[in-house]
C-alpha cells in the first residue's frame, strides 16, 4: 500500500485515506459547479489592472530623468510584472481559466512576461513539479539543481557555497527559471537529446531576445533622452519581480513541515494518495487579500497543489474546507506568516550547505532508499507498477 510510510505521520488507515479523497473530490465538484461569471470577471479585472499598471509605469518612465518618476515608474512596472507572472500567467498556464473558452486567457496561448518560454514551463512546472511534487530525483524544483534542500540529497563540497548560490538565484531568478527545463546536468553529461536541446535553446533564445529588446531597447529608445534611466528602471522592475517570485516559490515547499518523498513507485497511487502527498508536501503562508493576489494565491500552496486547475480566486474559500478536513483526519496543515516560512526555507539552505553530520536533524531517520543523484528524464519515470511500493517521507532539514 503506497501510503504506508506516510501513515507514520498521519496515522491514517487506507479507508481513511480514501474517505479523505472522497471529501476532496466533493469539494472540487462544488467549486466546479459554482464556477462562472464572477470568476471570469475576476480574471478579466486582474488583467485590466495589470495592463493599466504596466502602461502607466511605461509612460511614467518617459520622464524617468526626474527621480520621483523614475521610482514611481519602476515600482508600477515591477508590480505589473509580478501580477502578470504570479496571479495571471502562472494560473492561466495551469488551465484555470480554459473553461471560459476565451482564446486569449487560455493555457494554450498565454505567453508570459519572463524569459522562460510558456511551453517549457508547462513541462517543468505543470507536469514535472505538480506530478512529482517533492519527490527526490524527480521534482526539479527541489533546489532547482543548484541547492541541496533535503538531507537525503548527497552532500558535495560545492554545497558550502549555497548561501551565495541562493542569493544569486534570487537576484537572477527569471534566468534560472528560463534554463529550468533544459536540465543542464544532462547536457553536461551528454545524456540530453541534441535535437531536443537545440529546439529548446532556440525557443529560449527567441524569448530572451524578445524580453531584452522590450525592456532594454524598445522602451528605453521610446523614452528618448531618458533612455538610460528607463533602462535602469526596467532592470529594477525585473529585479523586484525576481526577488518576489523567488521568495514566494521558496515558501511553497521548503518551510518546516513540508515533506520530501523518495520514490519507489509513483505510477499507481490513487487519487486520494495523490491528494495526501500534495497536502503533505506543500506549505501555506498567511496574509491579507492583497498579499495573496500579489503571490498568485500561492499562499494557498496546499490548495493549489490539490486543485492546480481550479481558479485561483477560489483558493481562499477552498482553504476553509481543506483546513477542516486536515483537522478531521489529523493531517498536518502547514501554515505560518510569510517571514517565518521564508526564514525556515533560508535556514534549510544554510544548514544543508554543510554535511549532515555537522548539523542537527530534528526529524526521523532518513529512508534507506537510494536517491537518484541526477534528474530523471520523462522516459525514466516509472510507467507501470511492478511491485507494491511505498512512500518514504522526510521533513525539510
Amino acid at each position: 500500500m503506497a501510503i504506508s510510510d506516510v501513515k507514520e505521520y498521519t496515522h491514517l488507515t487506507p479507508e481513511q485515506v480514501e474517505e479523505l479523497g472522497r471529501e476532496l473530490d466533493a469539494l472540487r465538484e462544488r467549486i466546479e459547479q459554482s464556477r462562472g461569471a464572477d470568476d471570469a470577471a475576476y480574471i478579466n479585472k486582474m488583467i485590466t489592472i495589470q495592463r493599466r499598471l504596466a502602461a502607466a509605469g511605461r509612460i511614467t518612465l518617459f520622464a524617468s530623468k526626474w527621480k520621483p518618476a523614475f521610482f514611481a515608474g519602476a515600482a508600477m512596472l515591477g508590480v505589473a510584472k509580478i501580477l502578470e507572472n504570479m496571479e495571471i500567467g502562472h494560473n492561466v498556464m495551469h488551465g484555470q481559466w480554459d473553461w471560459m473558452n476565451d482564446p486569449e486567457i487560455h493555457s494554450s496561448n498565454w505567453e508570459w512576461d519572463t524569459a522562460q518560454p510558456a511551453e517549457q514551463w508547462k513541462h517543468s512546472h505543470n507536469y514535472v513539479h505538480h506530478q512529482f511534487t517533492n519527490v527526490l530525483g524527480h521534482d526539479n524544483d527541489i533546489g532547482y539543481g543548484i541547492l541541496r534542500m533535503a538531507r537525503e540529497q548527497k552532500w558535495h563540497p560545492a554545497n558550502v557555497g549555497q548561501p551565495v548560490y541562493n542569493a544569486l538565484l534570487a537576484l537572477l531568478f527569471q534566468w534560472g527559471v528560463a534554463l529550468h527545463d533544459l536540465d543542464l546536468e544532462a547536457i553536461r553529461k551528454r545524456r540530453k537529446d541534441p535535437k531536443e536541446m537545440k529546439r529548446q535553446l532556440k525557443q529560449i533564445g527567441r524569448k530572451v531576445r524578445r524580453q531584452i529588446s522590450k525592456d532594454y531597447v524598445v522602451y528605453p529608445l521610446l523614452s528618448g533622452p531618458a533612455a538610460l534611466s528607463t533602462m535602469k528602471a526596467n532592470a529594477i522592475a525585473n529585479l523586484m519581480r525576481n526577488l518576489w517570485s523567488y521568495t514566494i516559490i521558496f515558501c511553497g515547499h521548503f518551510p518546516d513541515g513540508a515533506m520530501h518523498f523518495t520514490e519507489e513507485e509513483l505510477e499507481d497511487e490513487t487519487r486520494a494518495e495523490w491528494y495526501l502527498r500534495q497536502m503533505l508536501g506543500s506549505a501555506n503562508f498567511e496574509g491579507g487579500p492583497l498579499l495573496h493576489i500579489m503571490s498568485g494565491n500561492l499562499g494557498y500552496q496546499i490548495e493549489h497543489h490539490l486543485y492546480p486547475d481550479l481558479p485561483s480566486n477560489r483558493y481562499a474559500e477552498i482553504s476553509v474546507t481543506v483546513k477542516q478536513l486536515c483537522e478531521k483526519f489529523g493531517v498536518p496543515y502547514t501554515v505560518g506568516p510569510l517571514h517565518k516560512q521564508y526564514g525556515q526555507a533560508l535556514r534549510t539552505i544554510i544548514k544543508l550547505s554543510l554535511p549532515n553530520g555537522m548539523t542537527s536533524d530534528d526529524g526521523p531517520e532518513p529512508p534507506p532508499e537510494r536517491i537518484p543523484d541526477r534528474r530523471l528524464t520523462d522516459a525514466e519515470r516509472p510507467i507501470r507498477r511492478t511491485e507494491t511500493g511505498a512512500w518514504s517521507t522526510r521533513r525539510s532539514a
Binding site: G21, G95, D98, H106, S108, K122, N126, Q131, D378, I383
Partner: protein, 167 residues
C-alpha cells in the same frame, strides 16, 4: 455522418513519433511506452505497438503539460479552445474520455488513419465502427480513484459534438 478522410486539412507534425512496423502508422504519443521527452526517438527501436493502449504517465503528461495525445507537441501550436477528444458515443455521453485531447488536425488524422486498421486503437479495448468527436475549450483531469484504473479526461467547455464513421 461525416467522412473524416475529407476533413484532414492540415497534416500534423508526426516526425518525432515512432512507427508501428506491423501497420506502418505512427504510434500516438499517448500510446507509446518508448522514450519520452528529452530522448532521441530516431535512435529508439521501432516495432509493433499497442495502438489501443493509453500509457498512464503519458496521459497525465498530456493533461498537465497541455500536449497533444497524438503528436506529443504543445497544444499551443493549434487553435486555442479547440482541444479535440475522440472516443465512443458512450464516452461522449458520459463526458469522460480515456484518450488525451488532440489538436483538431491530429484528431482528423487519427480518425482517418487508425480505425481503418481494424484493430483496437486510440484507447479503445475493442474495434469501433463509429466515433464521437468532442471539441472543447478546456477539460479536467480525473485521476484514478482506484489502483490500476485509467486516467480520464472530462471536457468542461464543449463547443461541438459529432459522431463520425471513418473509412
Amino acid at each position: 455522418m461525416v467522412d473524416p478522410t475529407v476533413r484532414v486539412r492540415t497534416q500534423p507534425d508526426l516526425s518525432e513519433r515512432r512507427h508501428d512496423l506491423r501497420h506502418g502508422v505512427p504510434v500516438p504519443f499517448a500510446s507509446d511506452t518508448h522514450a519520452g521527452y528529452g530522448v532521441d526517438h530516431r535512435r529508439e527501436p521501432t516495432g509493433p505497438a499497442d495502438l489501443g493502449a493509453v500509457v498512464k504517465a503519458r496521459a497525465i503528461q498530456c493533461a498537465l503539460s497541455r500536449v497533444c495525445g497524438l503528436c506529443g507537441l504543445s497544444m499551443a501550436s493549434g487553435p486555442a479552445g479547440a482541444s479535440t477528444f475522440v472516443g465512443t458515443e458512450a464516452e461522449a455521453e458520459a463526458n469522460l474520455f480515456g484518450f488525451p485531447p488532440m489538436h483538431p488536425a491530429c484528431a482528423d488524422y487519427a480518425l482517418a488513419t487508425y480505425p481503418p486498421l481494424g484493430v483496437p486503437v486510440l484507447g479503445q479495448p475493442l474495434v469501433r465502427a463509429t466515433w464521437a468527436v468532442v471539441v472543447t475549450g478546456g477539460f479536467e483531469l480525473e485521476r484514478p480513484a482506484e489502483r490500476g484504473a485509467p486516467v480520464l479526461f472530462r471536457p468542461n467547455a464543449v463547443t461541438s459534438t459529432e459522431v463520425v464513421t471513418p473509412g
